[in-house]
Symmetry: C2
Subunit: 542 residues, 2 copies
Amino acid sequence: MAKQTKTPRPKAATPKGFRDYFGTDVTERTEMLRRIAEVYDRYGFDALESAAVETVEALGKFLPDVDRPNAGVFAWQEGEEEGKGDWLALRYDLTAPLARVFAQHRNDLPTPYRRYAMGQVWRNEKPGPGRFRQFYQCDADTVGTASMAADAEICAMLADCMEVVGIPRGDYLIRVNNRKVLNGVLDAMGVTEAAQQADVLRTIDKFDKVGEAGVRELLGKGRLDASGAYIDGVGLSAAQAEPVIAFLTAKKTVLQRLHSEWEASPNDGSQDYKVLAWLLNIEMGAGRQKREQHTEASAKLLAKRTLAYLYEIVGDAEQGRKGVEELAQISDLLTAQGYGPDRIVLDPSVVRGLGYYTGPVFEAELTFEILDEKGRKRQFGSVAGGGRYDDLVARFTGQSVPAVGVSIGVDRLLAALREKNRMGGEAVGPVVVTVMDRDRMVDYQAMVAKLRKAGIRAEVYLGNPKSFGNQLKYADKRNSPAAVIEGADEKARGVVQVKDLVLGKKIAENATLQEWKERPSQAEIPRDDLVAHIKALLAGDK
Amino acid sequence: MAKQTKTPRPKAATPKGFRDYFGTDVTERTEMLRRIAEVYDRYGFDALESAAVETVEALGKFLPDVDRPNAGVFAWQEGEEEGKGDWLALRYDLTAPLARVFAQHRNDLPTPYRRYAMGQVWRNEKPGPGRFRQFYQCDADTVGTASMAADAEICAMLADCMEVVGIPRGDYLIRVNNRKVLNGVLDAMGVTEAAQQADVLRTIDKFDKVGEAGVRELLGKGRLDASGAYIDGVGLSAAQAEPVIAFLTAKKTVLQRLHSEWEASPNDGSQDYKVLAWLLNIEMGAGRQKREQHTEASAKLLAKRTLAYLYEIVGDAEQGRKGVEELAQISDLLTAQGYGPDRIVLDPSVVRGLGYYTGPVFEAELTFEILDEKGRKRQFGSVAGGGRYDDLVARFTGQSVPAVGVSIGVDRLLAALREKNRMGGEAVGPVVVTVMDRDRMVDYQAMVAKLRKAGIRAEVYLGNPKSFGNQLKYADKRNSPAAVIEGADEKARGVVQVKDLVLGKKIAENATLQEWKERPSQAEIPRDDLVAHIKALLAGDK
């Protein structure tokens, strides 16, 4: 029978839905955020770090599907016994705390207030594969201005952020839309009842998944989904559904029209039309190509035609016209700053889930293809999104404060960079100085101190030095580029052995005899040459 | 009568004991942590980021004064209704999570495992002035080795960290002691009962505050404290108390002995003694001087004498002798790496509060003087501390795993850097492009885009542009170095006005007429020269 212990040992495990991040998981994220912070700073945004903990009252209930008081957040009550104090909770995003900060400090803060924030947020949701209950957000918001220049600026900044972290132009696209246009479309459709509006919005959100035909079915009677289940439709007539279909497919329609214009005057040969035809190719799925050849004139032409078409769709609906006007302003501002359709485009199919957006919405999409878990090609998709929201601060002050912001999905963007091999893989481990004689630890430490002083990542093996094999296994686990060996014999002769572990691994795998000869994996060198030798080895010269 | 609203507005306030950090509060901390991470990395430590949330079970009860289950931590129970799931809590330090991580992943991690962690921790304590319930820690630990080389390495690394963040040599001192020596002293005193040992330890901890005479009184009958209250003593006889007094004043005694040796042979003139006499001056309070003149020989001599004196004090107590031996090893290792008493010293007065240390303990003390809130000079004091702890992982696995680590008090170190003017003050704000004509926002945005592209922090004023005065007030609040003005007249003539706001402020304060003439606070320049002009202005050339 097993021996019983009185108090069982605690389980060494993270709570469900939480995880640990090791090594490059941490350092690469830090580096990515550092680069983004530099862009935010250059745009005049100031850093803000609010506490992880807020009162439940201040946080409010902006999470989707919130019926119960504290559902969706991790919350607890202040005080020693229950019922005594405020309910506190971990923040679920960085926007709700911003609203609280702005309301609290509005007399001291500049207005408009441009701020950025980077940090963890927590969601008390059911964890799933790849779905964690703690994750990073990286936001920038401008509070206190209704000017579309603020929205345009954030789109430009988002494009800059993509490039600064290592997503090249052509591999991302900032897509911009306006909620007001969408509302105008609903007006034009005669869909005015709130419940039916919500149904239509939910359907629109499925456009990426089910396509034009699918949306048509879902807006009408319904459709069989892939699993064979029948999904009830919204019940609109085909004519009624037309404006929203026109809206969702606006980008395609505009490009087709431009293509026709160009075909009608093939001898025009104007560079603008050529570029547009070529843009069309991309959008119509003729494969990803570089989008860098657009001109300012072609950008203006595309924007002009898109806006004209949107005016067509919204018709006389006042809110819709206002929405298109705002998009026109954003478009002009971006074009003047040199951000053409190779980086930022008007795209009416962008909806963004969150209920609180009231005007322009935008997202950053990565357009390169990856293989999904089933080996199928698909686009990487959205890594950031945002928009204008005007009512968050009013909760506290009663005064509506216009605001616009963006949130970058840190983990997704990091995953994208790894897909593109712009980051990732193992970090270079430290050079490991092995311990051949445990009484000479002082010498080994002095050796490692010299390496460190020269800026080389290095350490002495501090485990039990009895087995030399274990020391090399350790170096291997550390992904060390080199091991240094100085036994009694080497000491007496004033030399050290340096084992090139990178080459060692390569040889073990597939190096040619030639490589072996040209770069012997172990070298005996004078002790005084150690720093120089390791430097050369790390630089790939040895 | 005031109008009543149905639901009262939420209060815009942080929960008690939490705060918001703005601008340079955030960016300077980030930069400091980045530099420390570089040092940790060079020493071969790997980054680890565990979740903020742990199970209460895994965290354990290492906080002082913990009688109630969840006191000291912010905790809540998993599940929709109470009583359903695990108790979760916010971590209160980074060491308890490390123990959990090591126990959980020990088969995948290299052993010894060197890891660093930087992040927030939370304490559910009564907040007070300057005492917050969320703060940063910045730790490095080596788990899985009993070698004193690990302890020595962390002391060296701590010294490097101080210098890399901007505390120059001479302004800090790493002080090293060993708990075993202290236990040996208790043995030598015949204090073996746990309660009395705790009383003695508490008294020792007051040494910095009450001095040698005060500790003598407190170990004996007791003493009147500054407020006039009588504090009961431990009740030891004067003879019994002697070893602990000798221990606490060891550093002084050793230096006095060395000074006597030197005086006894004034014609010896050996550099070692000279340096030691001079070190004595410092330690005896003859004023802070640079400590850079020590030699390796003088360092060895000081360590030798200190160790010899400690052997005297602990007598035959086995644990005490073992402790002195360990200090001797650490001293040898550090001397060989070039860390002399100008950076790291053996100092028996270091105790460190936390109960879980089992061997060497150390702290980083800043030795420069600051003025306290009452205008009195005092030393800045401790900014980091750590030591060896051997039982944290055993909670999970049953196997004792030796470990040693250090924790840097991020906020205190940052405060120290500000005291020394090595950091701090306001950040340089963005160049503000003012809006003279609201219809020409496109032009202003294009202008600011050019500045940003040149790496200059810049923004367009996005508030209501009606009052130009408000725009300049805004620029002032943003701490802008310059404002750019382009009205219709300037536009027509292809020029812009640049207001030098730094000089403007200076003139408003105390600039001389000469300065005013040499550097006019407003310049009219060709629009195309804007970037070059602002660059020169920021560099101080204009």
